[in-house]
Symmetry: C2
Subunit: 328 residues, 2 copies
């Protein structure tokens, strides 16, 4: 089996590739575990280096996600698994509407067409976002049945892909599955253009000994999920039988609701005697405005019924980050 | 003011143009009634003739709705009102997925970009459809807050445009408004590729003295709206102040739920002593399958609160058709 991961050199893409290499196999459209022969990480820019466990084990392809010819060459073969993670993220999409439409909408369509052209319908997993929810009438807790009324261009393009994936699947062009991700923490490395970036920064920077200024106040609540659970969840989503999902192919991933103030408390608790940078707050109205359009809590009934892995508390998410990135 | 109507030579497009000529003015982005200087009917095929009241009063432009340069020339001027009615309809879209994506999705995007390019944000009204609703978990009555999970490519593309219109509006690119139309009756002339076409055929054909074979059984319930109310409603939607709609720009239009059996009863009641064709039934599984994905009843709380015109019974809809098309 060939696995193609778009946005493959991003944080989740690299972790997913690493986990797939560890596993060695994946259940796809054939319904049985198949040995993974090849992993292609497709992305827009070549990373300076790959994590050591990936060196020599993956093919990195750099290109434009709207390049139909290139996608046709990548998404090819007898047995293919597609993970579509590539996306212009929230604050970036607010700044550049045209780029967001090009990458998120037209890029998604180009990938769907390439996948549709395969000789046998493949499974395709894509990452939607809790930014699908927004609008004037958001309930306190969003569920799988809440009407998506996104209030960001990022969220809008995600819901559009959810609808396209459901219809391409209904038509039998491929077998698509969508993961509506909450804010994924703790992201290592440099901040990205996501408005939710502080939910990682508030842990990452102080744990590197750097002072951190929060762009939002302590009362904003965010649904969070640790990256370990995200990667496990994406693989679980790919391996579910087609009929497990019904017509509506996208599900809320599990999350825990954590207030910004609670993130700071968790940081201090988990850091213990470590010397960490100081956390202060200087709210940025543009970032706060985007965050306030998102739901503070999200239920994930479908994911729970389907056995998706869930975090139970923020401390264990922070401990995993320290284990994987700080102490390693 | 220049009024551009896509799908302008279709049934609703022609009626809308006629009504606008009768009125002479329309309230647009300026917030005040403006004299209508020009009406452009944009469509994919030239009609053999125009209704007499439109002859010499409208400009007919034939072209491809994805032709950005042509749209740029059409949607131009100091004050423009856009009505986007063009669409590949339900059964047609099920037969030709690629054409549906081209016309409905990419055509919509091209028109939105042309409208965005205007020097001042214009109002844009587009027709969505109750085919937005579908899926596995449809409630007995759909409302403005029901999650759209369309089970046709037609419905999918309509929901995608709803999302795009909300986001283009939020960004200030134009002031968009969407009308989620129920099945519009009674359509004169030849049947189109809509799976719901029987809801017009069952009246039109017998009233022309032609026998009619229903492709569905008597128990299927359809939310219906007479074309007079549709045209009034589209104008009302254009004239609402921007803030009347909030973030979610598309509303359910009012409708009455009518079973197929009740349509036949109404036909006989209203026809009275007229000699009419016989109605029989030979269910077509493909048509029935599409119809069963649609909601049988739809509430329209937002439209009612905003003063949209509603029908109260099927008999008056049939009487209007006889007055406008049979006896004229």
């Amino acid at each position: 089996m060939k696995v193609v991961i778009t946005g493959g050199t991003g944080f989740i893409g690299l972790l997913l590739a690493q986990r797939l290499i560890e596993r060695g196999s994946l259940t796809g459209a054939s319904g049985r575990a198949e040995a993974i022969d090849k992993i292609v990480l497709f992305d827009v820019m070549r990373p300076p280096s790959l994590p050591a466990p990936l060196e020599g084990r993956v093919e990195v392809v750099i290109g434009d996600v709207t390049d139909a010819a290139l996608l046709g060459r990548l998404v090819s073969g007898e047995s293919v698994a597609v993970f579509h993670l590539a996306s212009v993220v929230s604050a970036g999409a607010e700044q550049d509407f045209d780029l967001a439409l090009k990458v998120n909408l037209h890029g998604g369509l180009a990938l769907f067409e390439a996948t549709r052209a395969l000789p046998r319908p493949a499974r395709l997993v894509f990452t939607s976002s809790i930014a699908a929810f927004g609008g004037d009438k958001l309930p306190e807790i969003v569920t799988d049945e809440t009407k998506p009324t996104p209030k960001t261009t990022y969220g809008m393009t995600k819901v559009v892909l959810e609808l396209l994936v459901a219809d391409y699947t209904r038509k039998g062009f491929f077998d698509g599955r969508g993961a509506r991700l909450p804010t994924v923490v703790v992201r290592p490395g440099k901040p990205n253009a996501a408005a939710s970036g502080f939910a990682s920064g508030v842990f990452r920077e102080p744990l590197s000994g750097i002072d951190y200024v929060l762009p939002v106040g302590p009362d904003i609540s965010m649904p969070l999920l640790g990256y370990r659970r995200v990667v496990e969840g994406l693989i679980h989503l790919h391996e579910l039988p087609r009929e497990a999902l019904g017509h509506d192919r996208t599900i809320n991933f599990p999350s825990i609701a954590v207030k910004v103030g609670e993130m700071v408390e968790s940081l201090k608790r988990v850091a213990g005697n470590r010397k960490i940078g100081a956390v202060s707050s200087a709210p940025n109205p543009a970032i706060e405005a985007i965050c306030r359009t998102w739901p503070g809590r999200a239920a994930a009934e479908r994911a729970k019924a389907l056995g998706f892995p869930a975090d139970t508390n923020i401390d264990s998410i922070v401990r995993a980050y320290i284990e994987d990135y700080v102490d390693r």
